[in-house]
């Protein structure tokens, strides 16, 4: 049996371990566009905070793939699936055949269509380790950071960089922070707490011209659609 897994995070690890409990012989190929050992994505904000490091972010030890007889194709993107031929086509033109295919790629950030956004020099999303590293490299003392979206990812990003000497502003279309999970009262408590850490909020903002943000950092979290 040939197993192919597209994605290399928590679900992929769970799948590998479940497969090996039932099938010790079949081949397992993992395809991931990230060039990293399996790591915990929710920890990227804690990495920026200095509470963890890349080694401790690993979900499994270094021998995980070898011990479980997996071939890891990292840095490769699955661009097409041919279900008739049972093949996954990669971005470099190679293909991988399968008997069983698992797609567990996780979520992708949605960047809302904002006129002029392409002119913003430094903009980031915040879901992967590479996102966090790129953001960290770009931050300098007194950098002004605009976070678009006061949802879970936007606020985790704010928390992650809050100890650095940067000025953080967070905007959201919704009238309160964490609007998808908190009511008015509890949201206000969280907002007050964050403001005590010098994070500024502009809520209930329906539009925001990117012309005004050309000279500040703009970060677009996945749930940014509500912000524009």
């Amino acid at each position: 049996m040939k197993y192919v897994i597209v994605g290399n995070s928590a679900a992929a690890v769970g799948a590998v371990e479940a497969i090996r409990r039932n099938d010790k012989e079949g081949s397992i190929t993992i395809i991931s566009d990230e060039k990293h050992h399996v790591y915990s994505r929710p920890l990227i904000s804690y990495l920026l905070l200095g509470k963890t490091d890349e080694n401790r972010m690993k979900y499994r030890d270094d021998g995980f793939y070898i011990d479980n007889g997996c071939e890891l194709l990292s840095g490769k993107t699955a661009v097409k699936i041919d279900p008739g031929e049972k093949r996954v086509i990669l971005d470099d033109g190679a293909s991988v055949s399968y008997d069983r295919l698992l797609l567990c790629t996780g979520s992708s950030p949605f960047v809302p269509p904002v006129p002029g956004l392409d002119k913003v020099k430094s903009k980031f999303t915040f879901t992967t380790l590479d996102d966090a590293k790129a953001l960290n490299d770009a931050l300098k003392e007194n950098s002004r950071v605009l976070i678009v979206g006061a949802g879970l990812i936007g606020l985790k990003c704010a928390e992650g960089i809050s100890k650095k000497k940067v000025k953080i502003t967070c905007i959201d279309l919704a009238p309160r922070v964490l609007s998808s999970i908190l009511d008015d009262e509890s949201s206000e408590i969280v907002k007050r707490h964050l403001e005590e850490h010098d994070i500024r909020f502009y809520l209930n903002r329906r539009s925001w011209s990117s012309k005004r943000t050309q000279h500040i950092w703009a970060i677009i979290p996945p749930y940014g659609s509500m912000c524009w």
């Binding site: 915990s40 804690y46 509470k51 963890t52």
Partner: protein, 144 residues
């Protein structure tokens, strides 16, 4: 596996289990010297209301929500015991929120702490059990 159980009809609400728990991790010989003027932060807590009291500590659940919710992999179940790797824990407290018994606590060092049946500090019966003056806390196999 053996677990800590509480017979609430025998619990006097004396809180000694909390002190034995705190004492167990101090490496001191004398409890009074170890805990004098110390505000203890035990892994077992007495809950009491309307004349009823009982001690609550980790149940080492078969389906542990704390382990499932841990974003770092710091909480794992090893031989039936839910263990904390403080080196990995980043103190997000998701486990504190998700434990249905309220048996996971923040610790002084920023990581979380919970009952690990004293296996990191000494062999044998957990200190809360041996220290209970009324036999209300027991360490036994109940096949659950």
């Amino acid at each position: 596996m053996k677990r800590v159980y509480v017979n609430e009809q025998w619990c006097l609400g004396c809180h000694l289990c909390e002190y034995y728990c705190a004492f167990a991790s101090t490496n001191e010989k004398d409890m009074a010297r170890a805990l004098k003027d110390v505000k203890i932060n035990p892994r077992i807590r007495i809950e009491e209301k309307d004349g009823i009291s009982f001690a609550v500590s980790c149940r080492h659940c078969d389906e542990p929500l704390c382990v499932k919710s841990c974003i770092t992999g710091a909480l794992t179940k090893v031989n039936g015991i839910i263990m904390i790797d403080k080196n990995r824990c980043i103190g997000c407290y998701t486990c504190v929120l998700s434990c249905p018994y309220g048996a996971v606590y923040p610790s002084e060092d920023g990581a979380i702490q919970k009952c690990e049946l004293c296996i990191k500090t000494h062999e044998g019966t957990p200190k809360c059990v041996t220290g209970c003056p009324n036999g209300a806390i027991v360490f036994e196999e109940r096949g659950e």
